[in-house]
């Protein structure tokens, strides 16, 4: 187990170096830079002066030099400064990540609480009306693009639930927990819809497979109660594909927050990335993408570990 963990983390190093290279290169391949955009179309400024501004920001250095500088700073725990505002990125990204984490965790919770039981019901009452309803729900849930669901939710709230959920921004830093929940609710609900649909589907198919196994028939023959059969014998054994999917979905949620945060003007890390792209603020992009890939890695590592817990026959070497 320890060796397994160590090995996984050793694999992380080359992966991160690669990620850093890609997140450094990609934004720089897009035309236009932060100075051009800051100056906009109205300024009257000499090209020399603009070049000077670029050199102040270190943009005149070659890409290998910038890569090396960035690695050096990272090794010292420094994420760098925003090119646009000159401010240190550590606290900014931390604040924004907390807001996004609220939404992402809430969305995952909603998906788990609704999706898994739905899948169980669908498997238990297979070929019934419930199952058809469930299939319809997952098809619709999967097909709806989140930016559309988000906009529709906003309209509903605007016209029918006035004042219940805020439509822009986030709760102030010192606000009580339920305020944060209120602001995170709509974006989380939007993100949760497709994830719930996927989870319900996967749970259903895994359950159907498990319920057809001999040991389930044996358990039933022994007179074990249906509830115990479903929850103890069947569900736990169907969870491996579900948990794997959950790990992947967590990654998709992190990607989905970009559009959702724009729709809800929710100042999380997604909105931060989007503005950073529009404004060519490379350090913000680099740092956020780096942290997201790290998070994705950790989530999948935890998923791997959970297999052992769900099925004790799985060991780690």
């Amino acid at each position: 187990m320890l060796i397994y963990t160590l090995r996984r983390f050793l694999q992380l190093t080359p992966m991160l170096l690669g990620v850093i290279l890609v997140v450094m290169l990609l934004p720089r391949l897009v035309p236009g830079d932060v100075v051009t955009i800051m100056l906009g179309s109205e300024s009257v400024i000499s090209p020399d002066r603009a070049a000077e501004m670029r050199s102040l920001l270190g943009l005149d250095r070659t890409i290998p030099e910038q890569y090396w500088d960035y690695l050096n700073a990272l090794a010292q725990g420094d994420l760098g400064n925003s090119l646009r505002t000159g401010r240190s990125l550590g606290p900014l990204i931390a604040d924004r990540f907390i807001l996004t984490a609220n939404v992402a965790l809430l969305a995952l919770m909603m998906a788990i609480i609704v999706g898994i039981p739905l899948g169980v019901i669908g498997a238990r009452y297979r070929r019934s009306r419930w199952s058809i309803l469930l299939q319809t729900f997952s098809l619709v849930g999967l097909s709806l693009p989140t930016f559309w669901t988000g906009t529709i939710l906003l309209l509903v709230v605007t016209f029918y639930l006035e004042g219940v959920f805020p439509t822009i921004g986030s709760a102030a830093a010192g606000a009580p927990w339920y305020e944060h929940l209120r602001y995170a609710f709509l974006p989380a609900l939007t993100l949760a819809v497709p994830v719930t649909a996927v989870l319900a589907r996967i749970t259903q198919s895994a359950m159907i497979e498990v319920l057809a196994q001999d040991y389930i028939t044996v358990a039933r023959a022994k007179g074990v109660g249906e509830r115990v059969v479903i929850f103890k014998h069947a569900l736990r054994n169907s969870l491996i594909p579900v948990v794997t999917e959950l790990g992947l979905q967590a990654g998709l949620i992190l990607g989905g927050v970009v559009t959702i945060e724009l729709v809800f003007s929710y100042p999380g890390v997604g909105l931060l990335v989007l503005t950073a792209i529009n404004q060519r603020d490379y350090p913000i992009l680099q740092s956020v993408l780096l942290i997201v890939s790290l998070l994705f890695f950790i989530i999948n590592y935890l998923v791997d570990l959970s297999y052992g817990f769900l099925n004790p026959r799985i060991t780690y070497t």
Binding site: I37, S43, I45, E52, G163, P166, T167, G169, L262, S265
Partner: protein, 499 residues
Amino acid sequence: MKRTVLAVITCIVLLASFGFAQKTLRFGIPVDPINLDPAQMSHMVAHRFVAFLYPSLLKYDNNLALVGDLAESYNVIDDTTYEFTLREGVTFHHGEEITSEHVKFSIERLLDPDVPSPEAFELEPITEVEIIDDRTFRLHTEEPFAPILHGIAFGLGIHSAETVEEYGDLRFQGSGSGPFELVEYRANEIVVFERYEDYDGPRPPLDRVEFHVITDDVARSTALSAGDLDVAEFLSPRAVLPLRSVDGLNVDYTGQPSISHFHLNTRREPFDDVRVRQAMSCALDRQAIADIVFVGDAEPTGPVPPSMGAWALPVDEFECYTRDLERSRELLAEAGYPDGFSSTMIGRADNSTDIDQLQMMAEQFAEVGIDMEIRQLEWGEMLDLWITQKNFDTLLIGSSTGRDPDANFYRRFHSESERNTVGYNNPEVDELMERGRTTIDQEERYEIYAELQRIIANEAPKIFTVQVPLYHVYWDRVQNWETHPMGMYYHLGQVDIEE
């Protein structure tokens, strides 16, 4: 006993809630100000914020006429000397009284070559700020420079050396002298102001003004409809359309001094031929663009927008500004393109109005055989092609124009200006623009700029289509709202909000 205690508690709670009830105006804006340093403003939104936080000597009234702000009065002593007297007892938010010394400091900092000041060009001719006493000073220029007062109203914000020393970086913090002081600026998110209690003018009814930066039109409009914003600014007529039917919402719009400019790269074929450019201008139906794309809220315009009043010539005085397909075809044939030609037009992808306009223009051009393909570009990419590389065929962009007509012409058409992105070069126009700047006599200036408008409209290095509207949509509870033609925030000191 119990009842008395209860009553007392209720009273306290009521009083407390009354005492703490803050009057906050939540204002949704589409663009982040980027930089609040009065010496580094680079676009219209920044100007609005700087003028709000750091009032200048002069400002614009609702008819775009210059009136005193920090200056109580000013005199034009001669063509190169202006004398100003400051209002008495005006203080910065940190308590210091404003004196001539501060004006001198602010101008000198703006002109300091070490401070990148993208808009300093209108104040550059100032050679000396001569202090007469604490409240009186004179500005000297070497040559007469007519736009100087506009430069002062638009490009200057009075601040103090103490503020610069204390904060170091004024981009996100600072201490000005407006009715509200800056509390917080989180880039791309929110700018918060609170009432300055020692403001020397009438006490502002609002306690707090929050500017929420919401770039997405739909998100801003939903937040407004939901009541999470009290007022919101829009640039797109399409975004405003559904709000017009909401009960309790008021839609104000103003023809701001901003124009849709269709750039023709005169360094390239076929746009190097003046007849081709004229043919394109003749092919356009500007009124149809105003009526359809701008749902009637825009006006056709020449090089100077109608909002600039007496400076602007009426559109029908310009050649080819009334649609004439016959003439357009003739001009094309003369230029050697009897069957038209194909080219590209660049538009800003995130500006739906510009894209709609381009589509309509493409259809109108097609009627004379000109086949224009629309390329929608992301803003950074567009700036790179347009401003940095000057690598485009044609391009449409809405830009705020001048306060003084000099800004409409000099930086855009002078052969030596860095911002002359269309590569226009006409010595006669250069000479007229230089004369326009250095002539002080108003009547003579009117004539110079009328002539310039005729030449530019006729030679069409840029084709002007419409004056672009600016919308402010606000709830009934917002009182005394005024929509300034430049979208300035001068009036926020008088706005109130009903609880």
